[in-house]
Amino acid sequence: MQLLSVKDVSKTYHLDRVEVSALSDVNLEVYPLRFTVLSGASGSGKTTLLNLIGGLDRPDRGEIILNGMPLGGLSDDARSDFRLRHIGFVFQNFNLLPVLNAYENVEYPLRLTGTRPAARAKRVRDLLEAVGLTPHARHLPGQLSGGQRQRVAIARALATAPQLVLADEPTANLDSQTGDSIIALMRHMQREFKTSFVFSSHDPKVLAEADDSAILRDGRIISITRQTDAGVAL
């Protein structure tokens, strides 16, 4: 049974009276505990698709069902709550809260869920240890390197034990060596914390690490490759 189902989703943006079709009739299924990559050139619709999957935006047409829950019918507050408990986000620019240290950044989603202090502290410590940042727990984002910031972001994304983590070009702002280590870390975290990752990238090395991959072009999925598949041209 699939974790995520994207059915006939279309999205058009209106920019200065010009309609830009970002996605057209996209269909995609993501299975639990998989490492799925959305690939494609810049402007192909990867970020738009991730935003729709993450409930950050609403499709013009079609339906997105995550873990059996259609996101389209949820109110704004309900979608916020849903994101908090079921989806983690990793951003290209890390997007850590600059006034919070590494520990507090990871802890923040757990505070929103109302997790008890003891459980919260244990979870944060475990995650920081898993991403190798225990010695930097009290450091502010500004005192961390790019790779360290992204590690904090990954730990934060996993804080509430979501079924799905979405990462938009997580290695784009990192050098290749750091980017490789981040991909390796994400792979490790995906297995250790038993979650699913969907992320966008056009890095061939990242594609090679994927269980499944989908290639987008001009807002359409043109190819889906699964671990067990040889590749399906659409």
């Binding site: 935003n51 709550d81 908090l84 986000f89 997007n95 923040y108 505070r111």
Partner: protein, 466 residues
């Protein structure tokens, strides 16, 4: 790290901007508090003046307040000592009273017949010992020393007059009144209108002989008044001093004298009366209780007497009008400062929203609801407001202390002698708390709109913000 902690850290991110905003709020708070303290001091000063001069409450003939100015003596209180004794020994009133004293006010004509000058006057007969006791009332802790009435210890026929009366009656020289030129404009003006020969005659008649005041002899005043039976009566008074009464209209008519002398003039050998029984209380806040008790007495023990009780606010409408004026100015200044604070805080919060747009998008993506974003920014406004208000209160207290010890003086309206410039901030709990709360509320209000804007940002748009 809760919402407050996060809000505080966000404020500390841009220390210079937050400090500038705090400074604006602090200055606003200081201005409001210092002006409020200054106004409070004026009001207390006026109240002290009225209470020292005319007590908190007065028992009068019930029609005296409305009609007595035309013929005060017609509205006298007979057997007034009986009323005074009743009031003084009343178990409810007695603990509240500091002074109970009779006064007699009436109109007449004051003359210095040696120079052919006269004018209408308003005379007041008082018991000087009681008046001196009233001068010691100081419920608000003013640093001035109580004045001793000039008529204290003088002979029964002594009197004091306003400087305006001394001027008109040409008594300036013996009374050593400064800035008191001899009248001469009248003759010149008339000279232009009258035939030349008549003018010369008039000028010859009008040439003043040296007034009795021209030498160092004691000044005398003939006071003509109608007795209670309507017959004219004259008292020759020794004027011992001319005193400025603060208000020119009053200064031009005032004659002060001993109560017994005033009563002899109006009532002759008949039973003396007074126009008011003045009651001074320990504290102004006792007025409602004392008034209620007096009304009770008027309805029972004194029911046969046509008396009414008035407080000093009713007797001195200028007091209420002045409070109203200052309250209006205070309100206007407060609104003005509130507006400046509102726009300053609003500007700060708007800038914060723009700078932190991506951060807002991140918070929303993580799962913070719109209300959470709104709460965060309103909390920042609330913190700014609270810190600005606290800083304003502290600085205002320090400045007030400096001003109060600076030795500056000023002469309030209606008073003669300068008093120390005093700004009442310390101890004015209502003013302090009210200003602090108002500033904080304005800051919260200022943050509300930017917070609402932040909360309504679309997540995707916010994350895409550059």
């Amino acid at each position: 790290m809760n919402t407050w902690s996060l809000a505080l850290r966000n404020l500390l991110r841009n220390r210079r901007r937050s400090f500038a905003t705090l400074l604006a709020m602090m200055i606003g708070g200081v201005c409001i508090l210092l002006f409020g303290g200054y106004v409070q001091n004026i009001i207390f000063g006026m109240q002290t003046g009225y209470v020292r001069g005319g007590g908190h409450l007065q028992l009068q003939h019930r029609d005296y307040f409305l009609y007595g100015s035309g013929d005060p003596a017609a509205y006298g209180i007979a057997d007034y000592q009986q009323v005074i004794d009743l009031v003084k020994h009343d178990p409810v009133l007695a603990p509240m009273l500091t002074v109970v004293t009779p006064t007699l006010q009436f109109g007449g004509i004051g003359g210095n017949f040696e120079v052919g000058a006269s004018r209408t006057v308003m005379a007041s007969g008082e018991v000087m010992e009681d008046q001196n006791a009233m001068q010691t009332w100081n419920d608000y802790g003013f640093p001035d020393k109580p004045e001793v009435m000039s008529l204290t210890g003088t002979s029964a026929d002594s009197a004091i007059i306003g400087t305006g009366v001394a001027r008109v009656l040409q008594l300036c020289a013996p009374l050593k009144v400064a800035d008191c030129p001899a009248p001469q404009a009248k003759a010149q003006t008339e000279g232009a209108l009258l035939p030349h020969d008549v003018s010369l005659l008039a000028a010859g008649d009008a040439t003043p002989e040296p007034a009795s005041g021209g030498n160092s002899a004691a000044a005398e005043l003939e006071l003509l008044a109608a007795t209670i039976s309507g017959a004219p009566n004259v008292a020759r008074l020794k004027v011992i001093k001319a005193e400025s009464q603060g208000v020119k209209e009053f200064d031009d008519v005032y004659v002060g004298m001993h109560l017994r002398q005033a009563q002899r003039l109006l009532y002759g050998a008949g039973a003396p009366e007074v126009t008011s029984i003045v009651l001074q209380l320990h504290h102004t806040r006792q007025i409602p209780l004392a008034t209620a008790r007096l009304k009770e007495l008027l309805a029972t023990s004194l029911r046969d007497r046509p008396l009414a009780v008035y407080d000093f606010r009713t007797l001195n409408p200028y007091y209420g009008q002045t409070i109203g004026l200052f309250n209006a100015i205070f309100g206007f200044i407060s609104i003005l400062i509130g507006g400046i604070v509102l726009f300053t805080v609003s500007n700060t919060m708007n800038a914060a929203v723009v700078e932190r747009t991506v951060e807002i998008g991140t918070l929303r993506a993580i799962g913070l609801r719109r209300a959470g974003v709104r709460t965060l920014f309103v909390s920042e406004g609330l913190l700014l407001g609270a810190l600005g208000a606290i800083a304003g209160v502290v600085v205002a207290l320090i400045l007030a202390t400096v001003i109060n010890h600076s030795g500056l003086t000023w002469t309030p309206p209606g008073r003669v002698n300068p008093i120390g410039l005093h700004v009442r901030v310390w101890g004015e709990t209502q003013l302090l708390i009210g200003t602090a709360i108002a500033l904080t509320l304005v800051a919260v209000l200022s943050a509300w709109w930017p917070a609402r804007r932040a909360a309504r940002l679309e997540v995707v748009e916010a994350l895409r913000h550059v």
